[in-house]
C-alpha cells in the first residue's frame, strides 16, 4: 500500500489523508461500498446532495449512456439532511470516514439552514455547496452561473459555519473564473470543478428525448478535457485550492488533474462502471508517487 509515500494534501485548513475523494451522487452515503473496501482509506467521500426535506427526484428515465459518458437527471433524490444526520453520519463517524456534506437548496435561506444543521454535527469535515445542479427547475444553475448569486450563497453560509466551505462550480457559467473569484472573496475555502454540463440524447425510433427531464448532466470520460481546462483556468485565477472532477477514473487521470492545478480530485461516474475505481485510483497514485520518490503534494500545479 502507501508505505513510505506521503499522499496527504491540504485543502485550506483541512488536511486530507490523500487526494482521492468520491463525487456527490456517485457514492450514495458512503455505506453502499462496504462490500468492496474500507472507504475510510479514501481522502474523503462527498455525500449525495442533501436537502432540508427528502426529495423523490425526477420521473424515469433518469439515465442513459452516451459516447464515453452518460447523462443523468436524477433530480437530487435524497433522504433529507435529518435522516442523513440521524441514520448515516453516526456510522461514517464511527468508521473514521472523512465526510464532505454536499448540500442543495433553492433559496439562500435554505442553504443557510442546511449549513447550520450540518454544522451542529460531529464528524463532518467540510460542506460542499451544490450551486450547479443542471437537473432541477429552481436553485441549481441560476446560483452557479452568476457570480453575485454564488457569492451571496457562499457569504451567507460562511456567516453560520466554521466548517470548510467548498463551492461546486458549473461549467455553464459564462465567466467561471469570475464566479470562482467571487466565491473566494465571499469566504469559500475551495472550489470543486466541475459539475456536469447539460446534454441531450434523442431516440431516433420514437423521436423523444431519452430522458424524461429531456436534458441531463453529462459525466464520465467525455467530460475530462473540459474539466481539466477549467481546473487549469481556475487554478491560475484564485488563491484557494481546486478539487478537480470530471472524468477521473484512474490514478493517471488524478495525476493529470493535480498537474493542472487541482489539490485533490473526485471520482464520479467511474464508480458505477467499477465499484473499486476509487480504491484502484488511490492505490495507483501511491504506486505512481513511490516509483518517482515523491509525495502527492509535489504534483500540484506542476504541469510544464
Amino acid at each position: 500500500m502507501s508505505a513510505n509515500v506521503d499522499l496527504r494534501v491540504d485543502v485550506g485548513s483541512l488536511t486530507l489523508k490523500n487526494p482521492i475523494l468520491t463525487a456527490s451522487g456517485t457514492f450514495g452515503y458512503g455505506l453502499e461500498y462496504d462490500d468492496f473496501y474500507d472507504v475510510a482509506e479514501l481522502g474523503g467521500i462527498c455525500t449525495k446532495g442533501l436537502s432540508l426535506e427528502p426529495r423523490h427526484g425526477n420521473p424515469p428515465d433518469r439515465i442513459c449512456e452516451t459516447a464515453a459518458g452518460m447523462l443523468n437527471a436524477i433530480g437530487l433524490a435524497n433522504v433529507g439532511v435529518e435522516a442523513f444526520c440521524r441514520d448515516k453520519l453516526p456510522i461514517l463517524r464511527q468508521r473514521g470516514v472523512t465526510v464532505v456534506a454536499n448540500v442543495f437548496a433553492t433559496t439562500v435561506d435554505d442553504f443557510v439552514k442546511l449549513a447550520q444543521r450540518v454544522d451542529q454535527e460531529e464528524g463532518v469535515a467540510a460542506i460542499e455547496l451544490n450551486v450547479s445542479c443542471p437537473n432541477v427547475d429552481k436553485g441549481g444553475l441560476e446560483f452557479g452561473c452568476d457570480a453575485q448569486a454564488a457569492a451571496r450563497v457562499t457569504a451567507a453560509c460562511r456567516a453560520v459555519t466554521r466548517l470548510p466551505l467548498w463551492v461546486k462550480m458549473s461549467p455553464e457559467a459564462g465567466d467561471i473564473r469570475g464566479v470562482g473569484l467571487a466565491c473566494q472573496e465571499a469566504g469559500a475555502d475551495a472550489l470543486t470543478a466541475i459539475n456536469t454540463i447539460r446534454g441531450l440524447a434523442v431516440d431516433p425510433r420514437t423521436w423523444r428525448a431519452r430522458l424524461a427531464n429531456r436534458t441531463g448532466g453529462l459525466s464520465g470520460p467525455a467530460l475530462k478535457p473540459l474539466a481539466l481546462r477549467i481546473v487549469w483556468d481556475l487554478a491560475r485565477t484564485v488563491r484557494i485550492p481546486i478539487i478537480g472532477i470530471g472524468g477521473v477514473a484512474t490514478a493517471e487521470d488524478a495525476v493529470e488533474f493535480l498537474l493542472a492545478g487541482a489539490t485533490a480530485v473526485q471520482v464520479g461516474t467511474a464508480n458505477f462502471a467499477d465499484p473499486m475505481a476509487s480504491k484502484r485510483a488511490l492505490d495507483g497514485l501511491a504506486d505512481y508517487c513511490r516509483e518517482r520518490g515523491m509525495n502527492a503534494r509535489d504534483l500540484i500545479g506542476k504541469m510544464r
Binding site: E32, P59, A68, N72, I74, R205, A212, T269, F272
Partner: protein, 281 residues
C-alpha cells in the same frame, strides 16, 4: 434452495462459451473459479474488460444460472449487447453479483404460473429449475411464454423441460395467435378456485397487463423489473419505478423481483415504455 449470498462482489471471469439462439439471442456462460451463490431472480452487472470507455457502463442482466457456471441470456438491443453477441471464449468479463431481491418463495400449496415475454424468460427458467429441484413429484409450474414471432422464444426447450409450457406469438407463427395475456386469462379460468402465484418477466406493457389481470382476479403476482441502471447497487438512483401511492422504488435494491401491487403502472415506466416508433414505414 441454496442460501443467498449476502455479500456482492466484483468477479472477473473468462467467457466459457457463447451459444447463439437465432440471430438476436445469445446465452453467455462464464467460467467461475469460485461459485456465485445467486438465487433465481437476482441479477449481475456485466461488462467486458475489453470495452474501455465505450460502452462505459456495465449492463444489468438477470442470471440464468449461478454457481460455477454463471450464465445470462442476452438480446441484442444496443451497443453493449452487440459487443456481448460477438464475444469469444476466453474474453474476460467483470460480473458484479449477486444483486437485487430474488423471487420470493412459492407459498405452500400454491401452483406457480409463469408469464414470460421474450428475453424475460431467463429469471423464470432459473426459478423453474430451482422449484423442480425442490419439488418431490407434484405439479410442475405452468409456463406461458409469448413473443412477437417464433424466433422470440429463446430457451423454450429449457422451459419445457421443467414446466408445463404453453406458447403464444403475436404473428401466429407458433402456438396461440395473440398475446401471452390471452393464455393467462384462459389459464386463470382453468385454475379458478386454486391457490396460485404468478411470476412474470417481460416487456413493461406485458407486465402491466399481467399485473392488471391478476389484480382483477385477486391473484398474487410478482414481477421482475427492467430499467436502465448505471450501478446496480443503490447509489446512482437511476432506476426508479413509480410506487403506489407516490414516489419511487429502486429496481436494483427494492427489486428487481417485487410484488406487482406495489407498482403504479399508470404512471408508466420511463419515456420509452410502450412508445411506438415514429416515422417508421
Amino acid at each position: 434452495m441454496i442460501e443467498a449470498q449476502t455479500r456482492r462482489r466484483l468477479y472477473t471471469f473468462p467467457l466459457h462459451r457463447r451459444d447463439s439462439i437465432g440471430s438476436a439471442y445469445h446465452v453467455l456462460t462464464f467460467e467461475a473459479n469460485e461459485p456465485i451463490a445467486a438465487l433465481p431472480g437476482q441479477f449481475a452487472m456485466v461488462r467486458s474488460t475489453t470495452w474501455g470507455d465505450a460502452p462505459l457502463l456495465p449492463r444489468p442482466m438477470s442470471l440464468l444460472t449461478g454457481g460455477t457456471r454463471p450464465s445470462i441470456l442476452i438480446k441484442v438491443v444496443g451497443e453493449g449487447t452487440m459487443r456481448m453477441a460477438y464475444a469469444s471464449s476466453g474474453e474476460q468479463f467483470e460480473l458484479l453479483a449477486p444483486l437485487g431481491r430474488p423471487w420470493s418463495p412459492l407459498p405452500e400449496g400454491h401452483r406457480a404460473v409463469f408469464v414470460a415475454g421474450g428475453v424475460g424468460v431467463a429469471p423464470l427458467v432459473f426459478l423453474a429449475q430451482a422449484l423442480g429441484e425442490a419439488r418431490a413429484g407434484g405439479e410442475m409450474p405452468l409456463a406461458l411464454y409469448g413473443g412477437r414471432t417464433h424466433a422470440d422464444l429463446p430457451l423454450d426447450a429449457e422451459l419445457a423441460a421443467v414446466t408445463e409450457l404453453r406458447v403464444a406469438t403475436e404473428d401466429g407463427s407458433r402456438g396461440t395467435h395473440g398475446r401471452v395475456t390471452v393464455l393467462l386469462e384462459k389459464a386463470l379460468d382453468e385454475l379458478s378456485g386454486r391457490a396460485i402465484k404468478v411470476y412474470t418477466c417481460g416487456p413493461d406493457p406485458m407486465m402491466a397487463a399481467v399485473a392488471r389481470i391478476c389484480a382483477e382476479r385477486h391473484v398474487a403476482c410478482e414481477v421482475s423489473l427492467e430499467t436502465p441502471m448505471a450501478c446496480g447497487y443503490g447509489v446512482c438512483l437511476g432506476c426508479p419505478v413509480p410506487r403506489r401511492p407516490a414516489g419511487y422504488l429502486y429496481a436494483c435494491t427494492e427489486g428487481p423481483c417485487i410484488d406487482a401491487a406495489l407498482i403504479d403502472w399508470e404512471r408508466g415506466h420511463g419515456v420509452s415504455a410502450g412508445q411506438k416508433a415514429r416515422g417508421a414505414s
